[in-house]
Symmetry: C2
Subunit: 174 residues, 2 copies
């Protein structure tokens, strides 16, 4: 099936911590293998993402990169198509996205070269939007079936409350 | 077809401004008619949401409410089902969501009564997630076809760049 990586551009420690964290959670929940980010290095973000991956299982990795071009190159070296998600792009439904894939999501201002050097620019609606929302819709549409092996915590669907399995405490209901 | 409203719980002006804004943009982009929020009243958030709606068209409204119960009641009075999005719920695919609908998304800690008093709790994966991401996936799945009448700005899909129509300046390309 091939992998999906996500690249978040231009992280700013103060302003973007929560949104970058949301993007990373979305990437992981829908089965991305790696999450790269450029901009300011943020060890506290990296720690919290690693902690989620450790408790909830799977092999999701987060890494800072000094350059989006390096991530493009690394993904292409493994056969991936590089697709930038933007409200200006072609509808993602017609972009025929499938792994192996590098999905690129912007920060506040995306440099024009990203639009040019990506293999495609794909939109989730042409309305002002959220990069987290766009990423979620596209990741969901890929239909990956992630397996979260080694999880210490696991949730079972419950229409009326919470059912949580904890490797230490056993099953809990609320 | 019926309406979709979104309710965001427990907004905190400082900490949540960007995420609440993202949730509102997602709600609007996918065709929600109204966005309610509880927690701290935030006029700057309201102004920025109103400004997007004015420039980009449509009738999207944002309103603060002192009580989530009041919003539940108002939505039910118009025939809506109230569905809380949470990683603990049943898979949203099996919850058969359709308008008229009030979608409820949490803030940091969601009071237990919200789980009980909603008509259903629906999950987008059972992994730690983003309320913005979950909202986007569910809104997209509803397949609403919003019309953004009266728009001053409009974007046309472009796989290689930006095509923007501006009522004042005409069409621009980059």
């Amino acid at each position: 099936m091939g992998f999906v990586w996500v690249l978040r551009l231009g992280h700013r420690r103060e302003r973007d911590k929560r949104l970058t964290t949301h993007c990373a959670l979305i990437a992981r929940a829908f089965g991305a293998a790696r999450f790269y980010y450029t901009g300011e290095r943020d060890e506290s973000f990296e720690k919290s993402a690693a902690s989620v991956a450790k408790r909830w299982g799977g092999k999701f990795k987060v890494a800072h990169s000094a350059s989006w071009r390096k991530v493009f190159t690394a993904a292409r070296a493994k056969g991936a198509r590089v697709v930038h998600l933007t409200m200006y792009g072609e509808p993602f439904e017609s972009a025929a996205l499938k792994p192996p894939l590098l999905l690129v999501v912007g920060g506040e201002k995306v440099h024009w070269e990203v639009y040019k050097e990506a293999d495609g620019n794909a939109s989730v609606t042409n309305q002002p939007h959220s990069e987290a929302g766009a990423l979620a819709v596209v990741m969901h549409s890929l239909g990956l079936k992630p397996v979260f092996s080694g999880a210490k915590i696991r949730v079972e669907s419950n229409p009326r409350g919470k059912t949580v399995f904890n490797a230490r405490k056993g099953k809990g209901r609320r």
